[in-house]
């Protein structure tokens, strides 16, 4: 009697494009899902995967070294091949071949898209020196060097997660002039909605952060470069005509998906790599996407595909996508429930934390105070509930550990909530 075929081919190679958290988790979860073939992870940065949230906080503040950020890969992933410092330049998915920037090619049986995001830059012309972003370790180290020079004036452009965290860290470092600019009227109003964003604004102002809200940036002023041009930034020109003096500018105006390498494969790359409810890309059984580059429908909510830039997403997507890919490479149909993670995020700013469970952005139209008083005494803990169609879809706590624990009490309820329909 012939031996039964092995359920998973022991030969073959999965290439993971992207060597940050999503790439690492994908490699580990492929092993956990039973993939016994080769795994090669390709990435543009020279470092092994590291944890990025501390870049805008502990690394800027000088409280964390690279060693403390590096992930410890699981033992099961010890045989993974890491090709660092050589990004993928192009993909020919039909031929299952990648071209790397160093000129080599790499054949694959399965592909994990994990190339993440890069900071969006402002299009205005002007000086380049003194303008920073925060995405990589090198970015954070350069910004720390700039912030720790005596007497610097800092302008942060963009009042989102990164902008608010960097402003708070700069004030904590003793920088005396820190101004946050945003065309919207309140910080983090996109993810949080109005009342929580107002409470956040007041806390920042009480701790010394200045704001120029409701105005965009028209350009930069600068002085003397090596060629006599305006190479070093000295000020930020706002669209309302004001000029903010600045020695250091931080551009935290969102991010752009790293998907150019996938061009020419008839994929929907409008905003990240569109996936189906099983994280498959382009209807191909051998390509999945993980992390913040994946634009996936969440079966828990309204079925609208969205990219999610929360820290929890690389791990959640990798776990699901690895099972899907391993099953399909072995020739099985996927019989998993549709991907339906419960999102969660946090943000540490000054001496307080924002802690969220669920999808508050989907319930911004109906925000209720569940606990505390957002307009009351300074520093009181507040818990906000976000509703859609009368149902609780998310909670956000603002304050200390008690507030975060209050939010956590709603997690079980959010998990049990029936799926929203569009």
């Amino acid at each position: 009697m012939p031996a039964a075929p092995s359920p998973v081919p022991v030969t073959g190679r999965v290439v993971v494009a992207g060597a940050s958290m999503g790439g690492l988790r994908a490699a580990e979860q492929l092993r956990a899902a039973g993939w016994t073939g080769a795994i090669t992870v390709v990435g543009d940065e020279p470092h092994m995967p590291y944890n990025r949230p501390p870049l805008s906080k502990e690394v800027l503040a000088g409280k964390a070294s690279f060693d403390s950020l590096a992930f410890t890969p699981k033992a099961a992933a010890a045989d993974v091949e890491w090709r660092l410092g050589s990004p993928v330049a192009a993909a020919r998915l039909a031929e299952r071949t990648l071209d790397l920037a160093d000129g080599s090619t790499l054949a694959f049986d399965g592909l994990v898209v994990a190339t993440g995001m890069r900071p969006r830059r402002l299009g205005c012309p002007g000086p380049t020196e003194g303008r920073h972003t925060v995405r990589t370790l090198a970015d954070a180290q350069a910004l720390r060097d700039a912030l720790t020079r005596p007497g610097v004036r800092v302008v942060v452009i963009g009042a989102g997660f990164i902008g608010c965290e960097v402003a708070a860290t700069a004030v904590g470092l003793g920088v005396r002039e820190v101004t946050v600019v945003d065309p919207l009227p309140l910080p983090m109003v996109g993810p949080l909605g109005e009342a929580p964003a107002r409470a956040l604004l007041r806390r920042h102002e009480e701790r010394g952060v200045r704001f120029a809200l409701g105005t965009g940036v028209a350009g930069f002023e600068g002085v003397g470069g090596a060629e006599g041009g305006e190479d070093r930034v000295t000020g930020v020109v706002l669209s309302d005509g004001r000029v903010l003096p600045a020695d250091v500018v931080v551009e935290s105006v969102g991010s752009v998906a790293n998907t150019e390498w996938l061009d020419g494969n008839r994929l929907d790359l409008t905003d990240g790599a569109l996936t189906d409810e099983q994280l498959r890309v382009g209807g191909l059984p051998y390509v999945v996407a993980v992390g913040d580059v994946a634009r996936f429908p969440n079966a828990r909510y309204d079925g609208v595909p969205r990219r999610v830039e929360h820290w929890s997403i690389p791990t959640d997507t990798a776990k699901h996508a690895a099972k899907v890919l391993t099953a399909q490479l072995a020739g099985f149909e996927v019989c998993l429930p549709a991907f339906a993670p419960l999102p969660t995020f946090w943000s540490d700013q000054h001496d307080f934390r924002l802690q969220s469970f669920g999808a508050p952005a989907l319930g911004k139209g109906d925000v209720r105070v569940l606990d505390g008083d957002p307009d009351g005494d300074r520093d009181g803990d507040v818990l906000f509930g976000y509703h859609r169609g009368g149902h609780l879809v998310g909670v956000v706590a603002l304050g200390g550990q008690a507030a975060a624990m209050g939010a956590a009490k709603y997690r079980a309820q959010l998990l049990k909530q029936p799926a929203l329909t569009a």
Binding site: R25, N51, P53, F71, S312, W346, Q401, A402, A404, A408
Partner: protein, 62 residues
């Protein structure tokens, strides 16, 4: 199985408690408590807890 949490890194996010409530818990002040030698049958959930720790403070040593 031996579990070690670097309490200098831990910032009491509590994600480990959701992933592995048999091993991790919070006291009334929201400070982490954990079982350092949980049963081998709990390995999957402890690995999950280590994965979801925002500070990557949890190590499984054996």
């Amino acid at each position: 199985m031996k579990v070690v949490v670097d309490m200098n890194k831990c910032q009491d996010h509590g994600q480990c408690v959701f992933a592995s409530p048999d091993v991790f818990s919070m006291d009334d002040e929201g400070r982490l408590l954990y079982v350092s030698d949980p049963d081998e049958s709990l390995r999957d959930e402890v690995e999950e807890a280590a994965d979801v720790c925002p500070l990557q403070a949890i190590r499984i040593e054996a």
